[in-house]
């Protein structure tokens, strides 16, 4: 019997999953090496959305940086602002009033829900079902309307300030928020689960696809739902609480196998936990001012290094500020979770079919504003 030397007869095809592609979540390029239908290697190429955030921050005074931080993970802007604002407040020792702290938690969690709605929509669209995308936007538009009433903008808010918030919520807004949450929990979330996540075809496409073992996840610095999908119960809101999160009761959904399915389902269940947190915030919202006392004059951080991390919906987002005593940071570095997660792509995709790359990328859900900064 004749045996063929596989190495000599290998036919490898290099394919470019270009930066413009309907299923790659923004501008992502992957150079894929295929053998038949199976992926042998995947090389991610990023930088197509690089807008120079870190350099620009060096030329901006501290309060002026907040609208820029919005544009990192643009799908959940408040979380980005929160990380930065907490870093500066920590450095200057500014006391934030309690009402502002609770409202910050409320808005962070609300943005988390909106982010995961979009995640759900794009996940479905990548798998070929376009309807859930529009259902997700049906709900996300209502979220936009609510945010517009408070901040004046739909997506990029510039709402948090060093020391508190820009303005308090208008009358009746909290009631409308509660109505929206009721609607979402009762009607929309079960729709999401039934239409996609319990669908047999979805299960076939995502189970055992892109299995991320927990030790690999930790080794690569994964965080957020990517890490929790692999079974590790790590959540900064519990492990390193900020802005009063220690006063809230909530669970951390954790996956079992670490495949794409787990990463997706973890995010869906986190939506429910976020709703829980918002309801608690609504019930214990104290009265008071929403802006604290700031030092007079131009804000200057004492010379030194400052680091603050938050649990953004995409993972552990951190800001590292180096100050030389001036009104602008000497150096600002943003630790972006999506960038770190993209390193996992080659490992996760090896051995799978080309169609799985889209599913795996979708389950990791990098946001390219954050990846490229």
């Amino acid at each position: 019997m004749e045996t063929r030397e596989l190495e000599e007869d290998r036919v490898l095809l290099r394919l470019n999953l270009g930066p413009q592609h309907p299923s790659t979540h923004g501008v992502f390029r992957a150079i894929v090496t295929l053998e038949g239908e199976t992926i042998v290697d995947l090389e991610p190429v990023v930088g197509y959305l690089h807008r120079n955030h870190e350099k620009i921050y060096e030329h901006l005074q501290y309060p002026m940086i907040v609208p820029f931080t919005d544009r990192l993970d643009y799908l959940s802007a408040i979380n980005n602002e929160l990380g930065y604002v907490l870093a500066v407040e920590g450095a200057l020792g500014i006391e934030v009033p309690e009402r502002a702290r609770v409202l910050r938690v409320l808005f962070s969690e609300f943005q988390r829900i909106l982010y995961y709605q979009l995640f759900f929509g794009t996940l479905a669209m990548d798998l070929g079902a376009t309807t859930p995308f529009l259902l997700a936007f049906r709900d996300r538009e209502r979220g936009y309307d609510l945010m517009e009433r408070v901040t004046g903008a739909r997506l990029l808010y510039n709402y948090l300030r060093i020391g508190g918030l820009r303005n308090d919520v208008p009358d009746g807004w909290l009631r409308d928020l509660e109505a929206y949450l009721d609607y979402f929990e009762r009607e929309a979330w079960p729709q999401y689960m039934d239409l996609l996540l319990r669908n047999e075809i979805f299960l076939l496409r995502t189970k055992e696809v892109g299995v991320l073992p927990s030790d690999l996840a930790l080794a690569y610095g994964a965080s957020g739902p990517v890490l929790r999908g692999s079974g590790i119960p790590r959540d900064l809101r519990k492990d390193d609480p900020y802005s009063g999160y220690e006063n809230f009761q909530f669970e951390i959904p954790v996956g079992e196998r670490g495949d794409s399915y787990d990463r997706c389902v973890v995010r869906l269940y986190e939506m429910l936990e976020s709703i829980r947190i918002i309801r608690q915030a609504l019930s214990r919202l104290p009265d008071g001012p929403v802006m604290g006392q700031l030092p007079r004059g131009l804000l200057k951080l004492p010379p030194g290094e400052y680091y603050q991390r938050v649990e953004a919906p995409s993972g552990e987002l951190a800001y590292y500020l180096v100050s030389d005593g001036g009104p602008a940071p000497y150096r600002a570095k943003i630790r972006s979770p999506s960038f770190v997660h993209l390193q996992l792509m080659p490992h996760l995709c090896r051995g799978h079919k080309l169609a799985d790359v889209i599913v795996i990328l979708s389950s990791i859900f990098p946001v390219f504003g954050e990846v490229d900064r």
Binding site: M64, V66, E148, G152, N158, D194, E200, V254, G255, E256
Partner: protein, 168 residues
């Protein structure tokens, strides 16, 4: 910590039944959505309801009695703008002294972040975010607004807000 329920795709008859049921349930959802009203707005025939306080373009407030701007050309807005799109030049009086009124107030809107920092920085309550968001133009030069244009925009926005029943 809570383990998420992992839908078990069991094999055999029970698995097949669960699979079929999941597909049928999904169809039920789409059918019910099919019967519901569309939620889209026929823009531009139907107007989009903007809430009060929507961030449009920074505009210069006009004192409705005197017809003059509140602006004193202090330049704080220009200095607080993260992208530096505001240019303010004060008027110079006949005696050569700097007056508290802008001669030039230029806003290069095509680079505006609509971040609202200029409005907040102004100590004279002379800037306000107009309710106008439909500002598209064919050339970026057409998006550079001068002092009087910004005042006009403010007046129009105010009229719209009054007509819409908003308290001014």
């Amino acid at each position: 910590m809570v383990r998420v329920p992992r839908v078990d795709s069991r094999s055999g008859l029970r698995g097949a039944w669960r699979a079929v049921k999941s597909i049928l349930v999904g169809h039920g959802i789409t059918f019910r959505e099919f019967l519901k009203e569309p939620i889209t707005i026929r823009y531009p025939e139907e107007p989009v309801p903007y809430p009060p306080g929507v961030r449009g373009i920074p505009s210069l407030k006009v004192n409705m009695e005197t017809g003059e701007l509140n602006c004193t050309a202090c330049g704080l807005c220009a200095r607080s703008c993260p992208v530096g799109i505001i240019t303010v030049e004060p008027m110079v009086g006949p005696d050569g002294k700097r007056m508290q009124y802008p001669a030039v107030y230029r806003l290069e809107f095509h680079r505006c972040l609509v971040c609202n920092l200029c409005v907040e920085a102004c100590p004279f309550d002379s800037l306000e975010m107009a309710d106008m968001v439909e500002l598209s133009q064919y050339h970026p030069e057409a998006l550079v607004f001068e002092r009087d244009q910004l005042a006009e925009i403010w007046k129009r926005s105010r009229a719209v807000r009054i007509a819409g029943g908003q308290k001014i």
